[in-house]
Symmetry: C2
Subunit: 358 residues, 2 copies
């Protein structure tokens, strides 16, 4: 394929061979960075190889790599926005991997190009997912129309957030028209995923009551659909009952998306049953929200919120990493909690030291 030849000819070649030079030696040299236009062209033509390389720059914590990734992103922005962005959450054991494999294969076979991203805040602590995504979705990983990228590891939650968002944009520029973002349901990952997708679904197990008890607050009010998985064999009638229970709850809640009634569905990812219905529903969601203008409004709002989230992240880092704050905050928290100092005075004391003003 043409784009692969591009890669081989370009400066990327140095990294492809088994005897690539140690990266640190070259970190400061501009020459090691691939030509920007070559990369942009490669990605726009759909080269997975160059996409993967671009993502490593986006994910890199080295200054020059990060800067290069941002330049790339800037040039690729005009090619983004054409995919349907789908977020998938669910408790562990709900069968998210099996669902994504079944759903992804169905779409890839129909000619769609599907990118699968994961947000796993715990990977910022453990340094990586416990189970590799490619082992979890064996068939899909081999499909030429699929691209699977595990959660970025290392760094802060804010960093994981940024990297996944920017990876999504790169995937769109590379022509992937369906982006699936899976959340492992740890920490604030559902809220992060909801803030970057068009459509958000909960993959559920039978027995809504018990499951909801263990679920994070507010999840049910963020979902555009609940899909009760494992609706097969002896479990089928129970799944139908659970679907009714979820519909009952959804009926009481405000819809997550204006003009769209969130409903419950059943499927069996294992038996590939009900998958088509879900895709049809998602396409309908896209049509409805595109026509009403809700989709474009949501995306614009998400971008604006994202800008302010980034600003807040930066403000927090700037403040909480200040030596005086690091030294004093613990004691001041204790003093405030013990009722020895009003919190407003504690805040003022810190602020005065850092910014020279109250």
């Amino acid at each position: 394929m043409e784009e692969h030849q591009h890669v081989r000819k370009g400066v990327m070649a140095a990294h492809d061979g088994m005897i690539a030079p140690p990266r640190k030696m070259f970190r400061k040299k501009k020459s090691v960075l691939p030509d920007l236009n070559v990369m942009v062209n490669g990605i726009v033509k759909g080269s997975v190889k160059e996409l993967a390389k671009a993502i490593t720059f986006i994910e890199s914590n080295a200054d020059d790599h990060y800067k290069y990734g941002q330049d790339l992103l800037q040039k690729l922005l005009p090619y983004t926005g054409n995919a349907i962005r789908i977020g998938i959450t669910g408790v562990p054991g709900a069968g998210k991997s099996t669902f994504i494999e079944s759903f992804g294969m169905r779409l890839c076979d129909a000619g769609h190009r599907v990118a699968v991203l994961t947000i796993d805040p715990s990977s910022s602590i453990s340094g990586g997912s416990i189970l590799g995504d490619k082992t979890r979705m064996e068939q899909l990983a081999k499909h030429p129309n699929a691209f699977i990228r595990p959660s970025p590891s290392g760094g802060t939650l804010g960093g994981v957030h940024r990297k996944t968002r920017e990876t999504l944009a790169l995937c769109e520029a590379a022509g992937f028209d369906v982006i699936l973002i899976e959340t492992v349901g740890v920490g604030q990952s559902e809220f992060i995923v909801r803030s970057m997708v068009d459509f958000f679904m909960l993959l559920a197990l039978t027995g809504a009551g018990d499951e909801l008890q263990g679920m994070k607050k507010g999840i049910m009010e963020m979902v555009d659909a609940v899909v009760v998985n494992k609706a097969d064999g002896t479990n089928k009638s129970l799944a139908e009952k659970t679907k009714r229970e979820y519909n009952q709850i959804l009926h009481f809640l405000q819809p997550a998306t204006k003009g769209w009634e969130s409903k419950a569905y059943t499927c069996s990812a294992l038996k590939n049953e009900g998958i088509d219905t879900i895709w049809t529903m998602m396409k309908e969601f896209r049509d409805v929200t595109e026509k009403s203008g809700v989709l474009i409004e949501r995306r614009r709002y998400q971008t604006k919120e994202w800008l302010h989230t980034l600003i807040m992240e930066k403000l927090k880092n700037h403040f909480y990493r200040h030596p005086y704050v690091k030294e004093q905050i613990g004691q001041l928290e204790q003093d405030a909690m013990n009722g020895d100092i009003p919190p407003s005075q504690a805040a003022e004391q810190l602020f005065k030291q850092v910014y020279g003003t109250e």
Copy 2:
């Protein structure tokens, strides 16, 4: 009463007469501020007059008044924490004023001292509540054991938040053992009230479904009880049905307070029916959470969160009020929303200008 004589003798006298001097003339003079120890003693002895005066300092935007209010708060902190703090929310028309009047009268008659505060973020725009709290709760306003203070007006939402929180502390220092904080349900007021009370209740009308549709997301998951009001006359059986509906929903949700099952109740504030049951339930809540340690943990957590909320408020103000940010933010938002610039670059550009670093 002794504390009132204190007031008359003190420097406060200048403000009591009809011919008080214009305040601006004296704003910079320290002499106009009442003696701190006199004020502290007055409040600790339960003087409503001095409490009200102290609150005006807490609410003042003048630097020396604010500073004086903070000094007062610092000295009064050891006397705070002894009240049960109850938050009350509900859609307009649910009968919050009638409920507070009925509930408050019941407690005042039994010897409790009840302070009623209101959080109305719209008062920061309109400059005051549309309807005075004292006209809304005519009987209670006259009761010697009651103290009613409307929402602080003017200033930012953050300001309203701080003022109400500090007013709560002053009321506790003055010996009020029941603090009722009412939210008018505008903006983020429910979340603000939830963050400063022990017990949070939703006052509801009959017809749970319709009402919940119009309610803010996440409210149901914050409440320790739902009280269906207006359970009288022909409305009684419908209220019972609504109670069952709310119980059904509450059953599906995570409890707002660890170790406490949030349930629905009915009452008629107008007919004074069911009010005792609600107070008994609240006392049980207090007993249970005191014994389990959940109450003290909640309060410590609330104080810690409050410190960080104050810090974030200050950080935001410091950044967003910077001339460069004020000038550029609108255009950068537009550029980001239009896909002309990655949000991360927009954030960096602003940050570099304000703090000289990315």
